[in-house]
Symmetry: C2
DNA sequence: GCATGGCCGTGCATGATTGCACGTCGGACG
DNA sequence: CGTCCGACGTGCAATCATGCACGGCCATGC
């Protein structure tokens, strides 16, 4: 039967790269790390790491186990916090996640307010456009463009969330402004990767702009904003984000773009956690248009 | 620092009631159980069990830890299955969850087909009206009346899901059939508990029937169906369920009841699990009206 | 090309954890 | 009311895991 503690050694090796470094982190001898890791690979019957110059790197099976082990770890930490009462103080780690554009332009600049109000709070801001799974403790708080229906999640409405079409001055000087939707289809566009077709910008582009006119695709909104500001093409951005870069000039103001709402989401298990409550409150204050939900 | 393996001992004690029984299950001496448990309580600084005649019973803190520990366990088991290849065979446990009405009348009677097709499959059918959380591995497959939006969940449409209003013969003989919505508000009704106000029957009742006319509330649809068939009042049931009890007579056929769809939901991590695929396929075949989604 | 530093793997002493035997306690049943 | 049975806790011995010291290996830097 698998030794659950071995997952801790496994995670430490993955994070620190070598037996020795993992041993230092866990305050055990490197030889112990090696032996436990061998036992784990033995028990599972698979090799987990590839030995490379510069350390141990996860193999395919290792990646699979890492996902599981990290959830195990998060669950254990959560139980410790809850049972030892650490949840009642605003201290310790909070994992906050949002799309990279929001994280970069809306959250990161104002994180200092939160840090100053709660010096012991340690925020981990994960900028990721793939929706992480709150239920699995992959994050504590998430920003979403829709309100999840799951009963196990609790939500707070932050702000209306609208989109606009933008271009950079160099581009507009070179190509002019599109006069209407017909003309827009002849312009150069920047858009998200196909995996993000479901997002509002992705849907709008797929519907109105031929794929051949999309000059650049990126999974990162920050990349698209930078490229757009530099004049590489037109793009659809949230107005809240576009407002953060003065080089982005709105065009086609009458285009019919979708409207969403911005929600802060957390898991109901974290309802009584002071850390999470502090972050949720900070988020609500961040957006003046917030209304209770 | 907490010993992750201690959670295994903790769960075993909870499930088997005594140190000795837990020790037998884990193939260790009872004294080891006692010592690890003491170490766990020491590390967390809380008492987990109450000693009662007949065994150890979880205290309040124990309940909290149990929820976490069970998720840890499910995660560990999932990693074992995935890495050892046990996922590629249709064997082992599958946890299926649905409302108690659906579980009792639709799933349970036809589980034998599934068991015969896959003798090594061990189905745990959890009848629970509180939506369990698939993402947290509280179940592998769930039946839902809406399609979750979470990207991490995969769904298959099973059938249209309609509701009707029903009464038992004894009741109708005594009180007559309601002639219309006005008259309906003077009848006796059976309904779900207030915690289930969000369900279609709950919403409809809250809207059309005064709370004072609701003679019986139960969280269990089976209870309501039984009471309704025995003539204790009128109630709103899914037509698929009502069809299973010939004593339920449809009334008020023209009432405007909500319409839903029935979905089978699982987590994308289980996409490649043969066990889960077998259950999903069985569910689809169970409902002739199923269409791919 | 050689020295150095860090890392991993192997043998041995140590320390911790486990298992066993025994004592005590509480409840059940005659 | 006494006895028996099962369960939990304590002392001791064995076992197992851990830590340490050493050697081989690789990479980097001089």
């Amino acid at each position: 039967m698998l030794q659950w503690d071995d997952l801790r050694y496994f995670l430490a090796v993955h994070r620190h790269g070598t037996h020795a470094a993992a041993g230092r982190a866990l305050r055990v001898a490197p030889t112990t790390i090696g032996r436990r890791l061998a036992a784990l690979e033995e028990a599972l019957g698979v090799k987990l790491f590839q030995r490379t110059p510069g350390g141990l790197v996860l193999g395919e099976n290792g990646q699979v186990l890492r996902a599981h082990a990290e959830r195990v770890e998060a669950e254990v930490f959560a139980s410790e916090r809850e049972l030892t009462g650490a949840d009642r103080r605003v201290s310790g780690p909070v994992r906050l996640t949002a799309g990279d554009g929001m994280a970069t332009h809306l959250l990161a600049p104002r994180l200092t307010e939160l840090q100053q109000a709660h010096p012991e709070l340690r925020v981990e801001l994960r900028a990721d456009n793939l929706a992480v799974d709150l239920s699995r403790r992959e994050a504590d708080v998430a920003l979403r463009l829709f309100r999840p229906r799951e009963q196990s999640l609790i939500t707070r409405r932050l702000a209306p969330f609208t989109f606009g079409i933008y271009g950079g001055e160099p581009y507009l000087a070179r190509r002019g402004r599109p006069s209407g939707m017909k003309d827009a289809a002849r312009h150069d566009w920047l858009g998200p990767e196909s995996a993000q077709d479901g997002t509002p910008p992705g849907q709008w582009l797929r519907r109105h702009i031929p794929a051949s006119r999309i000059a650049l695709r990126s999974s990162a909104t920050t990349v698209l904003m930078s490229a757009c500001a530099a004049g590489q093409g037109l793009a659809v951005f949230p107005e809240l984000l576009a407002a953060c870069d003065a080089r982005l000039v709105p065009v086609l103001p009458r285009a019919a773009l979708p409207t969403r709402e911005l929600w802060a989401v957390t898991h109901q298990d974290l309802r009584h956690s002071a850390r999470v409550a502090a972050v949720m409150d900070w988020l609500v204050r961040l957006f003046p248009a917030a209304r209770p939900a």
